[in-house]
């Protein structure tokens, strides 16, 4: 082979390699794009909800309330009749069945909505007020265009009569979409239009907080001891191998451990962020220790020697020089560990976080949901309303993860010293 030919061959193989590299990047980006597109196309509609503008008549006789009634009196009052009377006025009905169909256009909480509006403005008494009432999930989905209308009636969730009312409402401009505040403020519910991730957000927040408070100090102290102070012998080698093994243990095993020890033996309260936080901390410990040790190891020995040579004790050389230099790497490792913990589902299912919890937890020892488990729960529901909420919850979860990972990268790039 001549020299020219050999050279051409070398150039060609380089080009082929570059092409394969680009191709693999392209394919992985394509997968990400498909995933994101899928989630967004399903999930974005969950951030809006359909409301029906309804004229509510706070009839004094039906309410049996005086002017300037106290809060307790209002809470005790029965708003059922006022609600039914007002709702029935939006469209003429004939018979109980049609009345029922009309009322089913509204969410199951419609009476509570009317009552809470009155609680904030108790001068409404005896007046007619136009209020935006949350529509039922079926109307919501119909309005968002997710339900086909051209099916025969017995295969639709919405009757012909309801469709007629709906069309009338659209014609009069009484039906519209607004920001779905319930999605962020309410806990779980059997009714999709009333279900929200408020409880899951608070639950996840408490869990991650407990996880951080437990795992960070333990992991950092363990890493510093192992890396800087522990003698290098068989025992420390054994510990090192096992820390790496623990990081690879499937998370469900930690769930089983927590179930046996935290719930069955210590009797901590079931399905609470406290137990979730401890379980996630166990899982996160090795995942923080590994990057923490790596960043301690990356501090060059010359820095330690420099400190020792001016008469610093071992402790001083470690805590004045080595640890501050390893801190950015440690923090970014911690954040990535927490991001993994935030998305962890399996161990939480085992400790009972799959329970149906409506209330938003007020402390870490209240039963609670968490974001990934909420995704799991809703993904099993058939209603179209839960499908969009599943994707929307994934969007929220992913945005937390992206922010955390971005923070980790930022910390590392901004503060980490480079050694040449």
């Amino acid at each position: 082979m001549t020299k020219d030919k050999r050279l051409a061959k070398r150039h060609r193989s380089e080009k082929i390699f570059k092409f394969y590299g680009l191709l693999s990047i392209f394919i992985s980006l394509l997968f990400v794009l498909v995933l994101v597109n899928n989630i967004f196309s399903k999930g974005t509609s969950a951030f809006t909800k359909t409301v029906i503008e309804t004229e509510v008549f706070y009839n004094q006789d039906l309410l049996d309330l005086e002017y300037g009634a106290s809060k307790d009196e209002i809470l005790d009052a029965d708003f059922f009749d006022v609600t039914i009377e007002s709702l029935l006025l939006i469209y003429p009905t004939n018979g109980l069945d049609e009345e029922k169909q009309l009322i089913n256009l509204f969410s199951t909480d419609v009476e509570i909505e009317i009552k809470s509006k009155f609680l904030n403005n108790n001068d409404f008494i005896g007046k007619k007020v136009i209020i935006e009432l949350t529509a039922s999930d079926d109307i919501d989905q119909l309005h968002k265009g997710n339900y086909p209308r051209d099916l025969p009636e017995d295969r639709r969730r919405i009757s012909d009569f309801q469709l007629k009312i709906f069309d009338k409402l659209v014609e009069n401009g009484n039906i519209k979409k607004t920001f779905n505040n319930y999605f962020f403020t309410k806990g779980d519910s059997r009714d999709p239009e009333l279900a929200g991730i408020g409880g899951a957000l608070v639950g996840s927040f408490y869990s991650i907080l407990i996880c951080l408070l437990l795992s960070f100090p333990i992991a950092v102290l363990a890493s510093i001891y192992l890396e800087e102070f522990a003698p290098k012998n068989r025992i420390t080698d054994f510990i090192e191998i096992n820390i790496n093994n623990l990081a690879a243990v499937p998370s469900i095993v930690y769930g089983l451990l927590a179930l046996q020890i935290l719930l069955s033996t210590i009797h901590l309260p079931r399905s609470t962020p406290l137990v979730a936080g401890i379980t996630l901390a166990l899982m996160t410990l090795p995942r923080i220790i590994i990057p923490c040790r790596a960043s301690l190891k990356a501090v060059p020995p010359s820095i330690r020697e420099g400190a020792l040579a001016v008469g610093a004790s071992k402790f001083q050389s470690v805590f004045h020089h080595v640890v501050p230099l390893a801190l950015p790497g440690t923090l970014s490792g911690t954040i990535i560990g927490l991001a993994q913990a935030l998305g962890e589902t399996a161990p939480l299912i085992l400790i009972g976080m799959v329970a149906f919890v409506v209330d938003i937890p007020s402390s870490p020892i209240d039963p609670s949901a968490s974001l990934p488990v909420q995704v799991y729960l809703w993904s099993e529901s058939a209603e179209r309303g839960f499908v969009e909420k599943t994707s929307a919850t994934i969007m929220i979860l992913l945005s937390f993860l992206i922010v955390m990972n971005f923070l980790a990268v930022y910390l590392r790039q901004k503060f980490e010293k480079r050694w040449n």
């Binding site: 020697e305 420099g306 020792l308 008469g311 004790s313």
Partner: protein, 253 residues
Amino acid sequence: MKEIKIKSINLNVFYGEKQALFDVNLSLNEKEVTALIGPSGCGKSTFIRCINRMNDVIDICKVTGTIEMDGFDINDKNLDVVSLRERVGMVFQKPNPFPKSIYDNISYGPKIHGKGESKSELDFIVEKSLRKAALWEEVKDRLDEPGTSLSGGQQQRLCIARAISVNPEVILMDEPCSALDPIATAKIEELIDELKETFTIVIVTHSMAQAVRVSQKTGFFHLGKLIEVGKTDKIFKNPDNKMTQDYITGRFG
């Protein structure tokens, strides 16, 4: 004749199974520069790292024999290694300033030894140390810039200033110029010449010329043994040992 500052008696050093030094008997005179020469891996650095017990850091390192400083054994159990290193400073092969400000680099030592109680005392120590290390004029306007932003030669003088800052009696230098260019090297050598008025200096070097220029006494190591030691003039002009002769004339090493 100057007084003996440090004296090693039958010093043996082992790294695990491997013996690095064999029965080294060497004395270093006060306020004088002693150069240690020899081919790579001959034990020069190991020897000076015994003087401030830097070898303690290495788990597998074992030292037998004694090193006396002013007549006291530095390996004595009652002697705190921290106070030993306060008296015996060290400058390393590669400049290793802390990634902190120039000021913090110098003030760190005095601070941990409680030598600078107030800010003004520390300021004084920092200026004095930097002046002694012939660096003051170059850095006095940027004391809060990181020490790592200086040039290689300046960094090494910063490290010398750091060693001086705790006011030691002895300064150990482990090939301090091997990472520097000739101009920076010349400056350091000039500095060493001035420092020997105040400190006892031991310098490990691969440069024969440097040993001749800066030292009054030279020791030649080979394979962990001290082959010959004597006045620098004598070692380089008229060595007793054939091996020393071969090494300084460049026949091996």
